[in-house]
Amino acid sequence: MLKDDFFTIKGKESSGDGQVTYHVELNADHAIFKGHFPGNPISPGVCNIGMIKACAEEEIGASLFIGNMKQVKFSHLITPTENKELDIELKIDATDSEAIKLVAAIVKDGTKFMDIKAEARKE
């Protein structure tokens, strides 16, 4: 839904501790920025969640339904002009396919914009 439209994935890296980092870029011309907010584009918190979900789907290779978001914290606003490039850090434990554990954050150059702890299942 948001992938290749609201944002694009530019690359990914895996580190030894099971963390995967996706490098993404926002599409500043997307219609959502016209409505959120007119003349003052800010990425809606739900779109930040949506970008994390899309990267997790890419990593798992399946569509996900995130039915349980235990905690989502938004620490800094993301704007398509100031924060066009972002890193999405994922840790996924898919041992139980009915309760895939997802811990993720959106960061860039030492700033954490948001983080989430959630449980999802494959659709």
Partner: protein
């Protein structure tokens, strides 16, 4: 009750990300809104409103409550203030709403300090609860 274009008096969001189409009103500590899911909704996919749409609908219900309070405190002509989600907790989505279904959401304020409002939300389709969550909203001055 406010509907369609009138909702713009209460919330700062505009198309294509307006996720409430009806606001039933606010009491001192609660607000209630609705959204009929259209296939053209920006958060719709394969006939279902995705998680992001459900949560944004809840957030905008909270924003509309704040919009009513803002008018009560600062005058009927006051424009809706920009607001952001600060935190979401214990968000359970039982199922995704389908195109044609109407979501009705009630938010109840549990705490309010300065420009931060903490609310508990329940979203139903008919009598069926499809989502619950706690949401913290920040509002600009």
């Amino acid at each position: 009750m406010l509907q369609g274009e009138e909702i713009k008096q209460l919330i700062p969001q505009r198309e294509p990300i307006m996720m409430i189409d009806t606001f039933y009103g606010a009491s001192e500590t609660a607000g209630k809104s609705a959204l009929t899911v259209l296939a053209a909704n920006v958060f719709c996919e394969n006939g279902q409103l995705r998680e992001m749409g459900v949560i944004e609908h809840i957030a905008q219900t909270s924003a509309a409550y704040n919009g009513v309070k803002n008018k009560q405190n600062n005058g009927e002509d006051s424009k809706p203030k920009l607001g952001y989600i600060g935190e979401i907790k214990k968000c359970q989505i039982v199922r995704l709403p389908r195109v044609g279904e109407q979501l009705v959401t009630e938010v109840v304020v549990t705490a309010q300090v300065m420009n931060v409002t903490l609310m508990e939300a329940t979203t139903k389709v008919g009598d069926e609860t499809i989502a619950t969550c706690q949401i913290k909203l920040f509002e600009e001055d």
